[in-house]
Symmetry: C2
Subunit: 247 residues, 2 copies
C-alpha cells in the first residue's frame, strides 16, 4: 500500500498562526531579514546555544546572569548588549562555545507560539539544503511559519517559504492544499533567477537601508552557507544537524 504524503502548509503572518497550528507539525520559523539568518550564522560559527527572548527586560536579565546578549530595537543596539542583530556580528572569535541570549521580538514570539508543536526549527537561505534534507527524513507534516514584520505580510519570508516548499514537494513526500503554498511557490518562481534584485522591492529592505543596516542582505539571500539545523528545545536553540531523527 502506498504511504500517504505529509501535509505542507505556509503561514504568512503570526496573526494567522492559529489557523495552521497542529501539535504534529514540524514548524520552520522564517525571519530572513535578519533573525533566522543570524541564528544560522551564529550556529555555524560555533555558538553552543541561543536563548531567544522576547523583551528587552529579559535580555537585560540574561546579561546580568553572565550571558552574551544580542539585542536591537528598531535598528539600534541596546546599550547593555554585546551586539545587534546582524549575522556579521556572530563571528567565531566571539561566539564559539558560548551561550547567547538573542532578543528578537517577532522571531521569539513565533518560536513560543509554535512551541506546542512536535518540533520548532529555524530556517533561512543559509541552511536551506541541510534543513530540507533533515525535514524530509522526519515523516511528519511541515508548517513554514513566516515571522513577517509586525504581523504584516513579508515578501522575503514568503519567497523563502516558496524555495523551501519547492524542495519538499520535489521530494514526493509532501502534498498541499494550502493557497499560501501555491502563492509562495509562484513568488519564488519569479524571484529565483535574480533574488537580490527581487528583494529590492521588499519593504524591509527599505527599512534596513534607511538605517544603514542593509549590508547583510546579499549574504542573507545566499543559499547553503552552513549545514546547521537549529532546533528549539527546553528554552534554547541547539544545532541538531548531526542527529538523524528526533522523537
Amino acid at each position: 500500500m502506498e504511504k500517504s504524503k505529509n501535509r505542507l502548509e505556509v503561514c504568512l503572518s503570526p496573526a494567522i498562526y492559529d489557523k495552521h497550528a497542529d501539535d504534529h507539525n514540524l514548524v520552520v520559523i522564517v525571519d530572513i531579514l535578519r533573525a533566522t539568518s543570524s541564528i544560522c550564522a551564529a550556529m555555524h560559527n560555533g555558538v553552543k546555544s541561543i536563548f531567544p527572548v522576547a523583551t528587552v527586560e529579559e535580555a537585560r536579565a540574561m546579561k546580568q546572569q553572565g550571558y552574551m546578549v544580542a539585542s536591537e530595537r528598531d535598528g539600534f543596539v541596546l546599550d547593555f548588549a554585546d551586539f545587534g542583530n546582524s549575522p556579521f556580528n556572530f563571528t567565531p572569535e566571539i561566539v564559539k562555545g558560548k551561550e547567547i541570549a538573542y532578543s528578537t521580538t517577532n522571531g521569539t514570539r513565533c518560536i513560543h507560539m509554535a512551541s506546542h508543536s512536535k518540533s520548532v526549527l529555524i530556517g533561512s537561505f543559509l541552511n536551506i539544503s541541510a534543513l530540507a534534507s533533515w525535514l524530509i527524513q522526519q515523516n511528519a507534516p511541515v508548517l513554514i511559519f513566516c515571522a513577517s514584520w509586525k504581523d504584516r505580510f513579508s515578501l522575503e519570508d514568503t519567497v523563502f517559504a516558496g524555495a523551501l516548499a519547492e524542495r519538499l514537494l520535489d521530494s514526493g513526500k509532501y502534498e498541499s492544499n494550502c493557497d499560501a503554498v501555491t502563492a509562495s511557490l509562484d513568488l519564488w518562481s519569479i524571484a529565483k533567477n535574480d533574488l537580490l534584485g527581487y528583494i529590492q522591492k521588499a519593504a524591509q529592505k527599505g527599512r534596513l537601508a534607511s538605517k544603514g543596516l542593509d549590508d547583510c542582505i546579499e549574504y542573507c539571500l545566499t543559499a547553503d552557507q552552513t549545514t546547521v539545523v537549529p532546533l528549539f528545545r527546553e528554552d534554547k536553540l541547539i544545532d541538531i544537524s548531526g542527529i538523524e531523527k528526533i522523537n
Copy 2:
C-alpha cells in the same frame, strides 16, 4: 507643486486588518468566490439594496420582517432562505427593486470591521473597471481587503487585489510600500493570461467543486460584466456608480 500620491495597501486576511486600518481609507472588500461577485451581480440585476448580515439568526429575523434572504452555510441553502450564495441566483425577475438580506460570514465581518473607514466598497472582477475609475476620482488612500476563507490566505482574492492594484498604480495617482501589493501584482502577472486555469489551483475552487457549486467560477473571473459600484452606508449596500464623488 506636485500633488503627493495616495497610499495603496493590500490586506491579505481579516486577521491582519488592524495593521492596515485607517479612518481615511477607501476599503474595497474582496470575496471573489462568491460573496462580492454575487453582490455585484445582484446590483447589476436591479436589487434596490442589500443588507449584509453575519449570522443565521439575523438572516432569519430579516426573513420574518419580510425581506428576501440569501443565506448559505458550507454550501447548503438554509431552509428559510430564498436562495444561496451563487451569483446566478440573483436574476432580474427575482431581485429587481427588492431589498435583500445577504448572510455571508466572511464578507459581512469584513464590511463591519472596515466600517470606521471613509468608505467601504465591494469589489469583484465583474465590476473592476467601474470600481477602479470611481476610486481614482476620489483622491484618498485605498486598502484592498481580501476577505479570505476563515482568516487564511486566499489565492483568488489576492489575484484580484493584484488586478485592481495594477489599474490604480497605472493611473499614476497611487504609491505603495506594502509587500502585499508587490506580491499581489506578481501573482496577477502570472495568473492574468489564463485566469481560469490559474484559479484551478485555489483551495476554494476545490471546496466549491466538492459540493457542485463551482459552476459560477468562470463567471466570477470575467471582467466588466457590470458598472455598479456597491457602497456600504447605514447598514446596507447601495449602488453609487451614478455619484461621482462622495464625502
